[in-house]
Symmetry: D2
Subunit: 294 residues, 4 copies
């Protein structure tokens, strides 16, 4: 067995890694990092630059001009069109939010029909703790009942949008099982494994291998690491045959500690990909590997 045909590769391509660029997010602002794109044009420019640097997918949260999150279908449509004017990168829309009802977050997916839309697969505490101050910075319960998950997945299915199953803990992967049995979900499945959120599974390579073992044989998967831990998780995932997500939503910094742009973060991920003997997938290759037509 060579490292390129490990079981952990699952449905991914051992020779090629799909790089996603999470361009915006919803929580951070230009006060923290001036390179975060807000407007449809800015987002589309970053998408094109990320594509140039090696990304095959752009994961997007819409923002108003002053940077606050919006769930407006028109804005999402405009982002979609501006990107399509510039590049063939696959488009992935967030559906997460802290204070917007599910219906609002389904509507723009239904209307704009991106290639992919993210879907949170379970509930958990979502907190941050400061070791130096010995206190919790924030402390929330991130609620995603099966009822709500099914609302999203049914809408995506109807709209021909591939759900990206976001799993923050072991149980979240297990939650796929009843939804496969009752027909809400069908193969091929696409997973994002998020490690390192306090309340979910801790960020270790040991835990990443554990999460990957839980996945069905033919599933696609990528790792999402939060903060600068992202680079070690990305290296581990690439070595295991995984795909990776980087971008200003998840982390502002290069491994060196320098603050970066989306394109620079993607360029770093592409270098890491080549360093383990794989190469970044084009959008066309990613489309094929993920079976987006099925």
């Amino acid at each position: 067995m060579t490292i390129t045909d490990q079981p952990s590769t699952k449905g991914n391509d051992p020779e090629t890694a799909i790089i996603s660029a999470a361009l915006t997010g919803a929580l951070t602002t230009r006060d923290q990092c001036t390179a975060i794109p807000y407007t449809p044009e800015e987002i589309a420019e970053d998408a094109a630059a990320a594509r140039e640097a090696g990304a095959a997918i752009a994961h997007i949260h819409a923002r108003t001009e002053n940077g606050s999150p919006t769930y407006d279908t028109d804005v999402y449509q405009e982002i979609h069109d501006e990107i399509r004017d510039r590049t063939d990168i696959l488009i992935n829309f967030s559906t997460g939010a802290l204070h917007a009802p599910p219906e609002d977050r389904i509507e723009y997916v239904r209307a704009v029909q991106p290639d992919i839309a993210a879907l949170n697969m379970g509930s958990m505490n979502y907190a941050k703790y400061s070791e130096s101050r010995e206190e919790f910075v924030f402390d929330m319960v991130f609620e995603n009942s099966f009822g709500e998950i099914r609302q999203f997945v049914t809408a995506m299915e109807k709209a021909g949008v591939r759900p990206e199953l976001e799993c923050f803990d072991t149980g979240h992967v297990g939650n796929v099982r009843p939804l496969l049995q009752n027909g809400n979900l069908s193969h091929p499945l696409q997973f994002s494994l998020i490690l390192g959120v306090l309340g979910g599974i801790p960020a270790t390579i040991e835990n990443l291998t554990h999460q990957v073992r839980q996945l069905p044989e033919n599933a696609n998967w990528q790792v999402i690491g939060i903060s600068r831990d992202q680079w070690a998780l990305a290296a581990g995932a690439l070595a295991m045959g995984g795909n990776v997500r980087v971008g200003l939503e998840d982390n502002f910094y290069l491994p060196s500690g320098e603050m970066a742009t989306n394109a620079e973060l993607v360029e770093q991920a592409a270098q890491l990909t080549r360093n383990v003997g794989r190469k970044p997938a084009t959008p066309e290759e990613a489309h094929e590997i993920m079976g987006l037509d099925r």
Copy 2:
């Protein structure tokens, strides 16, 4: 290395296994199983019989005379006293509930001071799915924010009650970390690993070994399996050096499929314990192994 000195034993005793009897629970009724004890006397009688059969700990939810859950301090006190009149079994009180505020569930722990009280270590979906009917039987979000966890653990600490850290997923074990760092929790720690609740970590021996790997070196741990799956999980846990919980709260049935009493379920667990070459701990031995005076 012999099987009795495996790293998975952690702080447990390789030669001796602590059997907990979860006598009552809060959700099931005598319509489903006539052997469920309701009154303090009935609970105390079952505790004594469980002790005789090999249990060292009785885990208890109070009930009214018609079987509905109660958080009344007087009832908990009466259960405590009736048990103490009959046997030296260690007493463990539940603090969980679906519709009672935290304050109510802390009060009886503070007042009655059992040896141990259960503490849920995180949030998750808590659901049940019927494969035959292809539908969800129930679908809830089980919320336990860090704020609420800290309320409970602080009260237990003050009352000299050992918290039993109930972990339904990998992240729940990780949630211990900030609470150790800020001093809310201190060693030795006592964990319950619950597998098989839909929304939490699925019931496999692979996942049990994973959960045990997450625990600190000197921690005590037991497995809690829900439904008849319990017997395979118990066998796996006993083989790994773990402790086990059985009783009508978790499962009504012997491995043969016959419905049983609490004492019969404990007797079956004791037989399984001896079958792997270990022996059931007495309450005195359990007190020592768990370091309850520390």
Copy 3:
């Protein structure tokens, strides 16, 4: 997911466990345990009693009348015929030896054509160490080159005998890969996972789950534990969906510490099987589960 449909079950039957009885071995004598059968009649009587107690397979080393190992085809034939006169238990011949050349150990397999024959899948140190005396009791290199493995497997293939792939370490499971690729082996595969020999993989449930993960999806597997550790390994394996081997070759003692007969050891394994909610397979069921006609 219930505990009965765990991935670790692989090609085994989750409801039914195949118990093998290793009746004789080659290294121990009646001075150590009076119940060890030597002659074909004694072996056949033990095989019948083991079948009665729940075993589906008898694993056999031939002995002379004074108990020393023999590779004489006539003796193996006589054992085979005496067993067949008494019971339908499946017959599995050892092919291992310390001082006999491979040809001698292939000949009786070729001639007598048992249902199954054991096959060591790799090399390793084979030693025993005394912690109390702080010295090695014995220290050998157990040599099984690929050349020798292929000699055996080719002969078995021709004789229509299913090879039982004996794996003492992780690499031994990996050694199956080239032999599948070049056609020396074909599916379905039957594995024995031996843990606890010094030089091979240590006896922990963690390591058992690791070994099982290495197996192909549709493989049958059983655990073989050496000495009294066997009972914990057997419990862990049964909980994971595995099959088990017991018998005087591996261990003389019940979990209680009492010395036992082959039938008593099998009876104990059958009880353990029922204690996890499974039942012992008959030879006919084992034949079907292992696909012995394929």
Copy 4:
């Protein structure tokens, strides 16, 4: 928990990775790769260049002027002195050989007293298989009995040379246990985990995490990958907190497929180290991390 304080780090430094350069090996020749150094001067020049590129340890096999292996103490002494004239890199001598008796391979360790010497920790098949030709390229039994291991380790202990425990399978790590118990070995321990030799543990990140779990808490460890698989194993190991070995003994090629020099291979490993947010250790830092004075 951040990725830099994972349990898999064990005794390594999470911020700093020790890069070893295996400069020569014994099996390959300049016909295959012109950059392989033969003479003491050539080896010392490569050691200095490797040090410049980020290596802290040089692992060395002596060669005659025409490239064949030699166990001559004078040659090893000359290599040692030539390196010391040029650089402070730590010196690690091989003790392995196919056709030289143990005494010959101990003598130069005893006489020259390098900082570290390699020690094979068990036996296994050592083979190579060609999938395209469907045949074994070579097929050997690699024998290292406990008796021989103890001969080496005793000599190293007396000479004040740190043994580097080379483990090709799970059992090899377990073999450390009796040698610790009887005092042949003492903490801190230094492990090399070799994955991907046919006969030993296959090269997967899953198996690397498994091997690391077997190690004592305070152990140092590095990964050794054979052939171009090395780069993915190195990325996985660096992400887990491990150290790495590269160099012409293990692999001639950069991830891009270009043939390289020792210095170029080390430079690539150093880049990978920085890409996961760590930095290459100096020889002085490595000396401290490995506790070489203890």
